[in-house]
Assembly symmetry: C2
Homo-oligomer: 282 residues x 2
């Protein structure tokens, strides 16, 4: 029996949190060029960059194609996990994309839920549209590596899809079909309970669309959907007594916040009659 | 002796974090109308609203003029405290404005610093320009009330300025003069060490401006300064061997992050051939 008050299977699909690259790759400067020195030593230049960053066997350069979360992104994830708990949503199984930002988001959700018994099943098939992979499918951290840094990973999970199964530059229909085929396999494994998928902005639609009887979207509708999908957005699909699935509202409130810009105290030296700003200080 | 490696006195001035009213008073709707029912019962409608809100003796309606921090605002504060610790900035004394957002920010900074021995001196004289008080000086929570909810308050602190000392609609020069008079009194009490002031956007300038030999700004420069001052912005002034003070750079990095919009899963029901979004759900 599910823990949601009835027998229906439920599916939650949640987008990952704020990513370092989107936040700090501004004005043509890659965040990694500023955060890592030539020897790969990490020095965050902003309080929203993670204070510590995982060591990865494929080399720190791979963060360029596989961004970690920002501090805010991790908080967004914990707030979402806490909200699931507060709203009595009991998650039974978690599957997440191999992208580090999705793994870290799932870690934050589990932490926020205080879901000590939950382990993450890392499923490459949940990765986003391969049209966006200009340099091929990114290198991902391995499940045993993620477990070694303390994440609650199910290392005995055998993914439905392997790296060599990916088609590069799949059409939009092919991306919808891959997502639909995958969620059918995942749901076949669980005859009851609530399955949480942590993946990408498009996943909220691609994972639920055909399951609920829809057709793959055209590109215009697809891009409109993505643009309307903030970090930690949550979609829900519920199985009906007649075994058909339908979209329901998110079981938790939205997450809305303002941006913050970088402060430069040199503005205080503006129009000083006597002294300038001490640029050498600290 | 100061703990900053030399004998010089230092002054840090930090703006409070993200506030509920600025984030949620949108399109003419006051956040409190949505978050409190007629009996004053609090129900957050967004994950960035605080999960729990302090009880206040002057009535929950007073949050309208004295906004609490959002969840993001509290995280901004903790990240800033952690950064002060990481950069070996030892704070010896904390003074904060009576506004709840400033008190909560100071609480978060102390928490982030793990500054267990630090207590907050709540000083009404640090409140912002009274030109902005359309309905008079707001009602603030009392130090003993704030202590009762677990905040580290110095309840034996006697403020330099009392409510009845405020001049409503003070001129900009008067605001600068009030801030300068106050900081001189505070610094007179401490012959060494680092003093942290947690106050308002304008405070980064008004507290340091005349201390460093500047004249009060004209309105254009003043508003430009405020617009360039994000949440948790930090300015620093350092006393020179010749006893004059000068502006220095912030001892910690800036804090930059993106905004997040509210998600509405009804977009997923767009162009469904068979079924709509179940609006009654949850």
């Amino acid at each position: 029996m599910s823990h949601n008050g009835d027998n229906s299977r439920r599916l939650l699909v949640i987008r990952h949190g704020e990513r370092c690259d989107f936040t700090f790759n501004q004005q043509g400067i890659n965040w990694m060029k500023r955060a890592f020195d030539a020897s790969g030593r990490y020095r965050p230049f902003d309080l929203n960059l993670p204070r510590n960053i995982p060591r990865r066997k494929d080399g720190y350069e791979k963060f360029a194609g596989d961004s970690p979360l920002t501090e805010m992104g991790y908080l967004q994830s914990k707030l979402t996990g806490r909200a699931l708990r507060d709203h009595n949503v009991k998650v039974d199984y978690i599957y997440c994309s191999s992208a580090l930002r999705c793994v870290q988001t799932a870690v934050g959700i589990v932490k926020g839920m205080d879901g000590r018994s939950l382990q993450l099943n890392i499923e490459p098939g949940l990765f986003e549209w391969t049209q966006w992979c200009r340099n091929g499918i990114p290198s991902w951290m391995r499940p045993d590596e993620l477990e070694n840094i303390g994440y609650p990973i199910n290392t005995s999970y055998t993914p439905f899809m392997r790296l060599e199964d990916f088609k590069l530059k799949e059409s939009l229909d092919e991306y919808y079909d891959r997502s639909y085929a995958l969620i059918r396999k995942i749901l076949k494994r669980h005859s009851q309970g609530t399955v949480l998928i942590v993946a990408h902005a498009a996943s909220l639609d691609t994972i639920t669309r055909q399951l609920c009887g829809g057709l793959p979207r055209n590109q215009d509708d697809f891009f409109y959907c993505i643009q309307q999908t903030p970090y930690l957005a949550c979609s829900q699909a519920v199985e009906q007594p007649n075994k058909l699935w339908r979209i329901a509202s998110s079981p938790i409130p939205p997450l809305t916040h303002a941006s913050n810009t970088s402060y430069n105290s040199k503005i205080l030296a503006m129009n000083y009659p006597q002294m300038g700003c001490d640029k050498g200080e600290s």
